[in-house]
């Protein structure tokens, strides 16, 4: 029997999805694994409360997004995982342009990237993103605008360098 009924199941069922979310959020498999683990440790502590409110999903996802943009990530490089993720990771993109976009995402500041991931991967509205990250909707919009703007200009310049991708 676990400490809090349901926690084991939640971890078993959600880990893969959380890792995918962590991976698009961080762009790095090790960071993704660390982030998931830290968020789950916190969820474990808050489980009775979170479970009663029936919102472990949003709790853990919100925790991950906030941790990622918080100082925690910069301060704490203790490797939380016992082992590095063992899946050979190789992103396969149908086009070089998409590959380029993924690379450019890595160059964005964390908060901009987080906003874009929540918008275009998690499909959240700006108001929802504001709630998740604890910022105003105005900030969400300006961060998204700046992030997209940077991606657009780096894509343009790489196309100029390498010729058209299409």
């Amino acid at each position: 029997m676990d400490d809090e009924p349901g926690f084991d199941d939640f971890v078993a069922e959600q880990t893969e999805a959380l890792l995918r979310y962590g991976y698009v959020l961080t762009g790095n498999p090790h960071d993704a694994a660390d982030l998931v683990q830290e968020a789950l440790i916190r969820l474990c502590g808050a489980w009775p409360r979170v479970r009663r409110k029936d919102s472990p999903h949003s709790y853990v996802r919100t925790t991950m997004a906030r941790l990622h943009i918080s100082v925690w990530r910069r301060r704490r490089r203790e490797h939380l995982t016992g082992a590095p993720p063992d899946r050979v990771h190789r992103e396969v993109f149908p086009s070089e342009e998409e590959q380029g976009l993924w690379r450019e995402l890595a160059a964005l500041p964390r908060r901009q990237r987080a906003v874009l991931v929540l918008r275009y991967y998690e499909q959240l509205s700006d108001a929802e993103i504001a709630k998740v990250l604890g910022i105003s909707t105005g900030t969400v919009r300006s961060q998204a605008f700046r992030g997209l703007d940077k991606l657009r200009s780096s894509l343009l310049s790489s196309m100029e360098t390498h010729g058209s991708m299409r």
Partner: protein, 435 residues
Amino acid sequence: MTDLEEKLSRVLSGAAHGAPQAPDGLLATVKTRHRRRRARSTAVTAAAAVVLVAGGVGVVVNGLGVAGEPHPAVSATGEAGPPVRKVPPPVWKVWPQAVHKIPARLPDGRAYYPQLLLDDRTLLVMTGVGDGKRQYLWSYDLGTGRPRRIAEIPPTKGSAIFADGVAAGGGHIVWWASYKEKGGPRVARIWTVPVAGGRPRRVTDVPLGNVMKEGHIRELAVTGSDVVFAYEKGGVYRVPLSGGSPRPVQGAERHHILSWPWVGVHRGKAIFREVLNVETGERNEAAVKAGEEVRCGVERCWGIDVRYKTVKVDNRDSSGKKITCGDRPCPKTVRSRTVLRGFVRDRDGSHERDLPKDFQESSEAGLERFFQTSLLGPGDQLFVALYDAVTGRTADLGMRPDATGGMAMPDSGSDRLLAYKVGNEMYVLDLATIK
């Protein structure tokens, strides 16, 4: 959406496939670290608790503030360490009939992931989960060691989650993947293919709404000519394998699927205490006493008997000076949680027996009867023990941490299959063979 936004959406979904796999022993690590942090914070309050006793107020809280709990003892440094256990005999000696050791890769070198047992000698596996773009389902003959390809899982471009919830029944295999097509809402697409092989066919698209709040779908099962599933938030639906719209199963609007046709609710700390047979209408409410936290199956319940107590703490030392916890004042109360015992018994309360102390915090490993937990053996080495609540026997699954100290806990579903990798071998346990 602009062109760039669409590309971005596609790139993120595509990149998600490159996500790492669950780190080895994630759950065990999460729990150990959580307990350690809790032990650390309770150790701080414990200092205050001692003063309280000395002050003669008369409430006794032990060093952890959690009397009798099988939690790691706190060492002089305040760092917790779990107790060391004797390693039980290996599983292949305890239940030789249940253990198949097969190569961890298919003859062509592909890594695979066991899904379920199709019958006594056939394992359903998936390949391509981590190493490629193309995923396949295979049936693997445990007798001859030969795999047979059943089908390719249709690639899930534009999908955030691919091929999940694999289930089988009546000669059909089903699974789902999440899709988001241009301009449309996110859906969970259910697929099916005959066990004998063939081309996968789309059964239906299940609307998902706000995944962040409502979650996906789960607990897929094949029943007769239908597929049944439940939303993660609860709510059981049924859709014909031949296609159509999912329709809610009457009386199961907030339910989860336990084991078809049994569905039930998760209420507080009682999971599946109340169940309903949606075919016969039979209802059952398991016997649970006050203070018990349980999870039930179709026939049994297991859980712990817990007492919570909030005790006041006097935060002054013997000279009357206030004690601080770090930079902050110490909390005025301590909530103590005492696990009196762990148990497993029939739903009606009969045939009750205690779960061994080590297994009070274990998870179900299958058939409402087996429980697994990771323990620390001599030489600080982690191992995973499997406990059979019917015979009372315990076995060592044979897993050991790798060079980096990581270890994968086996997937613990409630079905008869328990499969895990040990070095270059896959251990496939058929729990149904244990009498």
